[in-house]
Amino acid sequence: MTYREQIAQHIDRFPKMPPLCRSLLGYLEDPDVDFKTIRDLVQYDPGLTANVLKLANSVYFGPAQEISSLQAALVRLGTRRIFELVLSLTVSGRLVTALPGYGLEGRDLLRHSIWTAVAAQELAGILQMKNVDTVFTVGLLHDLGLLLLDPFIAGKRERFTHIFESRCLSFDQAEKEVLGMDHAEAGAKILELWQLGPEIVSGVRWHHEPAEAAEFQDLIYLIHLADMLSLSEGIGTGIYGLQFNVSAEPVRALGLKKEHLEYTASKTLDKMRELENILT
């Protein structure tokens, strides 16, 4: 059996989307379900409600226009965005595990994911980009595939070391060469099973090959650049260090300048620390 086939089998055993998220997602697709049903479903868990509000205020509102009720959050953000906040809160618990294959210690992946989510959102603001509402969620989920591939990477550490000693290859390309699949594709497969919709799936799928994407380019460009910035700043660098290619396409298409990146990085650090407290 090829590694690709083994990984595919492994996906079937990968944890399903958390039950509350599954029910919420079901309701979102049901046109007969009203606001109240969704509100009550979340409010049933007071801890979760408090955290949804904290996260909503931190990510979408800021101290000047803080909101204090789930009802208001639903009105302002819509049910889909609230679902994404619940999903972020439940998935972030999984991102704190150490990944020995990738050489990541506990919380490394969580910090890297939060940094990417925040930086992508900051960058969208700086570049005045519209219609990228899912950017925070995709940023947080973009490396979910690492959880799936970690045991396979662990068994092939020597092979990766050998590749990097002899060639200047981007780590995702090395993953494809060794395992037949990179972590971006693995992550997208999980999210496809979770039925999170084409925008989130594509955002994760193409975050290392943004030029290959057929749609949602703006979103994918932002995630790619934010991910590269996160690695640049040393947030969650494992055995791969900074061994990733920056794609020329997003840089050109968005007219990205070094000042944009540096300003984004300066804004992101404190926000990452704030969110790390909310998400764990």
Binding site: C168, S170, M228, L229, L231, S232, E233, G234, I235, T237, I239, G241, L242, Q243, F244, N245, V246, A248, V251, R252, L256, K257, K258, E259, L261, E262, Y263, A265, S266, K267, L269, D270
Partner: protein, 162 residues
């Protein structure tokens, strides 16, 4: 032995011989250690970005985020504590970058350029330096001896005060 962790955009100084200053996971960031072997006084800073002018507001709250304001403040504090320029041993690591043909991600290179200018202006020379490439590095400084270490890819290299 106590480890004093220097976080991103932070700085620590110690003259306690039991201490080791350590900073983790330097990518494009620079870790700079300055040591006075007579006083057994050491400082370490972990700077993310080259120049504070990119975000002056942030530089007021987090001066150590930037190489210019971070180095100025650390050197100022070390001089206040009695360090002599002629004795200062400066060790530097970091400044890596992702593989970027466009050049916008050359944050590491720009960090190092700014650092060299500051050291030159202050009449300080570099002792050990390991800068650039695309590795992540962890560095430490033993306050008792001034021994500086750079760890990356499972290997550690030590630099002693000569």
């Amino acid at each position: 032995m106590a480890q004093l962790i220097v976080d991103i955009a932070d700085m620590k100084i110690s003259d306690n011989p039991a201490d080791t200053l350590i900073t983790y996971s330097l990518g494009s960031c620079l870790g700079v250690a300055v040591y006075d072997p007579v006083l057994r006084l050491g400082g370490m800073v972990h700077c993310m970005l080259p120049l504070s002018k990119v975000d002056p507001e942030k530089a007021k709250i987090r001066p150590y985020m930037f190489v210019d304001t971070g180095m100025q403040q650390m050197l100022g504090k070390l001089y206040e504590s009695g360090m002599r320029k002629a004795r200062a041993v400066v060790n530097v690591a970091g400044g890596s970058q992702v593989l970027d043909s466009q050049g916008v991600f050359k944050i590491g290179e720009r960090n190092f350029t700014v650092l060299r200018k500051i050291l030159w202006k202050n009449g300080l020379l570099m002792n050990a330096q390991e800068v650039g490439g695309n590795k992540s590095r962890t560095v430490s400084l033993e306050v008792a001896t001034g021994r500086f270490s750079i760890k990356s890819g499972g290997k550690t290299i030590y630099y002693d005060v000569s």
